[in-house]
Amino acid sequence: MILLFVVHVLILISIYILLAVSLNLVLGYTGRVNLGHVALFGIGAYTSALLYINGIPFVIAFLASGFFAGFSGFVLIFATKRLKGDYYALATLGFSFIVYSLLLNLTSITRGPLGIAGIKKPELFGFAITNNFSYLTFSSIIVLISVFIIWRIVSSPFGILLGAMRDDETALKVLGKDTKMLKYKAMGISAFFAGISGSLFAHYISFIDPGTFTISEIILVLTIVIVGGIASTKGSIVASAIIVVIPELLRFLPLPGGIAGPMRQILYSIILIVLLLYKPRGLFGRIELE
């Protein structure tokens, strides 16, 4: 019983690692607060679930979740190309509300508030993933490969350019760098990986509805990135483990059902406040949040 619970927590940790590391690529390395990241996660989850339920092979559904989320990321960056700072953050929050609204109202496709139930675990090249142990192996491999790719990107000269853009975009432009293209590329990659983490989530949880991808989820992922440290892949990995495990431990406390939910939110807030006061760069970050 305990082993099953541990496996469940480990799968969640692996999914949130990918979600947080992909958000950190945009937030930490380009300095743009993307509050629409969970919407991209949702787009990936819905794309993969709908395609798989309609008989499309998992590999195609899985890749499509990444590419469709990536395309949505391009749309988001195109629509917000003139915005900076708080205005950009607000516009991306607006994007997440638009996606939420579409998922809720396009009932013929998404089944609206009823959500999509019975999303099966994937079958890969004739090998069916039937239990949580094999799903943990599968999700760990995907997350490992994805995190390695993101780590290679951020530690390459391209990643240095992203960091330079975060620090002073005008100074980078006068060095002959096309910062618009940099933003498109960074957002495309980040959204792609948010999409495939959505696919991993949908096929594990087996039920998704629009309420799964709302502001509380954005707060959770932002908390992970800030606790781990801005622009730190290692930080996002460690913080994902901490932030996912702590609320799960609440299950063992004799709390009434109505209190456990709000307690999670209170815990996230306390962690954030304490951290911002005593360790403003997060656990492993070298960049201070402004």
């Binding site: 290679r152 990107i153 390459s156 000269p157 391209f158 240095i160 350019l161 960091g163 330079a164 975060r166 620090d167 002073d168 005008t170 100074a171 980078l172 432009k173 006068v174 060095l175 002959g176 760098k177 096309d178 910062t179 293209m181 940099l182 590329k185 622009a231 070298r286 960049i287």
Partner: protein, 284 residues
């Protein structure tokens, strides 16, 4: 026979670069290469440029030119429009009226990174560095004239630029470990790094906005030496500076701005004797 082949090769090169120029595909390396081949002489021509900020006239029909291998200085009291002029050339601030030509090619209104790629490198009055990047990372960003290609950057090792980085740092006299973050440098060291970055970026014109403002006399001498050395190598340089001794000993030609207008121009000796210049600085 050999000479004939060389002439044909040169003609083909001229044709190739002119076609690229026609489609706006020139970059700094092209420009430098064309200069070497004698296809054209580098020449930045600013024609009657005006710029207003609301009701304030920052620049009023300013015309000036930067010629190949020369040091020109732009001087004038505070608020006379000197930095605005640099910002208009780089298109950080768009020109209200007027035209800017780079070797006869109209570059007015082109995007900042395109202007930089053509071969215009600059520093800012307030040093603008990337605070979370090291000295080495600054120079690596500056040394490449192309945007790093994502896939290329992912799969291939970047060329070793350590020697070039060392050479530039020695030239500007910045004696700090290359792994030092720019935010950990003193003001003077930041000035030197800003200068090193501008030099490292492939360019045919160097624009320096108050390179010795707020720094000690020793460092001032050092920067004087660096600029002189660059010019001796054939670099074309434009300087904005308040320090008259510095400017008069360095520049070949001087433009004087006051309230956005060009009130005088000439050699340092001519400008020093100009009554309008004295009035602008000392009052009537």
């Amino acid at each position: 026979m050999k000479n004939k082949i060389l002439r044909i090769k040169k003609s083909l090169y001229v044709l190739h670069t002119k076609v690229r120029s026609l489609f706006g595909l020139l970059d700094a390396q092209d420009a430098n290469s064309m200069l070497k081949h004698g296809v054209f002489a580098m020449h930045l021509d600013i024609k009657k440029v005006s710029k207003n900020f609301g009701g304030i006239v920052a620049l009023d029909k300013c015309s000036l030119e930067i010629k190949e291998g020369k040091i020109i200085a732009i001087i004038g009291p505070n608020g006379s429009g000197k930095s605005t002029l640099f910002n208009v050339i780089s298109n950080i601030v768009s020109a209200g009226k007027g035209k800017i030509y780079f070797s006869k090619e109209d570059i007015t209104g082109r995007e900042e990174h395109e202007i930089a790629k053509i071969g215009i490198s600059r520093t800012f009055q307030e040093v603008r560095l990337f605070k979370n990047l090291t000295i080495e990372e600054h120079l690596k960003v500056a040394l490449s004239d192309s945007d790093y290609k994502l896939i290329k950057s992912f799969f291939y090792r970047q060329p070793n630029e350590d020697d070039r980085i060392k050479e530039i740092l020695e030239m500007v006299g910045l004696k700090k470990p290359v792994s030092t973050l720019s935010s950990e440098l003193s003001y003077g060291q930041k000035k030197l790094l800003g200068l090193a970055v501008a030099i490292a970026k492939p360019h045919s014109i160097l624009m320096l906005d108050e390179p010795v403002a707020g720094i000690n006399p020793e460092l001032r001498k050092e920067i004087f030496r660096i600029i002189k050395e660059l010019n001796n190598k054939g670099e074309s340089i434009a300087i904005i500076e308040h320090d008259m001794n510095f400017v008069m000993n360095l520049a070949h030609y001087i433009y004087v701005l006051d309230s956005g207008r060009l009130i005088a121009e000439g050699t340092p000796r001519e400008v020093q004797k100009n009554k309008r210049v004295l009035e602008a600085y000392l009052g009537k």
